[in-house]
């Protein structure tokens, strides 16, 4: 399926709702105020956990697909 640019906003909102990221608005000299996003401490921890999980998972799948002994 195609991933469009519009997908990023719902994702950011979900992350923010789950307190993984924070957003703040900065007034701009030229043009309208801009919204910035930053990862939170909780977000960093969860990212770490999910990365570990993902690598373990993908490794297992790779082994399975390549037909190696586990």
């Amino acid at each position: 399926m195609q991933i469009t640019e519009g997908t990023v906003y719902p994702l950011l909102k979900r992350l923010k709702d789950n307190m993984m990221i924070d957003s703040y608005i900065v007034e701009s000299q030229e043009g309208p105020p801009r919204k910035y996003y930053a990862i939170t401490d909780l977000g960093r921890t969860v990212k770490q956990e999910q990365e570990t999980e993902w690598f373990a998972f993908s490794e297992a799948i790779n082994k399975l697909l390549k037909g190696e002994e586990a």
Partner: protein, 239 residues
């Protein structure tokens, strides 16, 4: 598509899906259009890149529910979005989400699915219940109460009549061959029968109510999978 059409479609879809915080979401997209304009893109180009506003609105529906239809694509969109790098490794994110979905529905309580065969049987029995059983039972109960009331009332009347008769010349009584004593006794018998009839009427009413509770529970179990009526406990030993 122009910006205005995009924004209007997005706003309508968001409210259709019951998403809150629409104001902030709309501002994000407003901002996106301004950024696009600043970068020299036309509204059409920005819309093209953003994608379908209805699809975007769907992704704002709180917490993905894996059992719902239509969600598979959304969920895989989420996964490929957060793990874009892994897409290159040829991993099918859709399959992963599917596997996850089946494990989710296994552990969570599944929504109740009515059995169409049972529903038809219930509806056929309903036809019988409403056309014949319900009117019959109600009229039987009504007549039982009527009989109880009239026997009780006539008992009192006959009893009083018997007493009155003892003060009168019995030869003036054309319609009875009974002595005053036996008339009074007959009144007493009728009055004594009344409490028994009252008990019988109440029991019959309770029985009817219980029958309907069974029928209601049978319906609720067929349609929503659980009982709604509870019954009085019959043994008082537990208390």
């Amino acid at each position: 598509m122009t910006k205005n059409i995009f924004m209007e479609k997005l706003r309508a879809s968001l409210s259709e899906y019951g998403v809150s915080d629409t104001r902030e979401i709309m501002l994000d997209f407003e901002q996106h259009f301004e950024d696009g304009a600043a970068a020299g893109e036309t509204e059409e180009q920005v819309c093209e890149k953003l994608g379908d506003p209805v699809e975007i609105a769907k992704q704002y529906i709180p917490e993905t529910d894996f059992t719902a239809t239509d969600k598979k694509t959304e969920a895989s969109g989420f996964d490929t979005g957060s793990f874009t790098k892994t897409e290159a490794s040829g991993f099918d994110a859709g399959a992963f989400t599917k596997a996850e979905a089946s494990s989710y529905s296994g552990s969570a309580t599944q929504p109740f699915q009515a059995d169409i065969g049972k529903v038809i049987i219930v509806l056929l029995v309903d036809l019988f219940v409403f056309i014949w059983a319900l009117p019959t039972l109600i009229s039987l109960l009504c007549s039982l109460f009527g009989i109880t009331l009239s026997i009780g009332a006539s008992g009192i009347v006959v009893f009083i009549a018997g007493i009155l008769m003892s003060f009168m010349d019995t030869t003036t009584w054309l319609f009875t061959t009974l002595s005053p004593l036996s008339t009074s006794l007959f009144g007493v018998v009728l009055m004594a029968a009344t409490p028994l009839l009252v008990i019988a009427s109440i029991a019959a009413t309770k029985g009817t109510v219980n029958i309907f509770k069974y029928i209601i529970n049978w319906h609720s179990e067929t349609f929503v999978g659980r009982k709604v009526c509870s019954f009085e406990k019959k043994n008082k030993e537990a208390a």
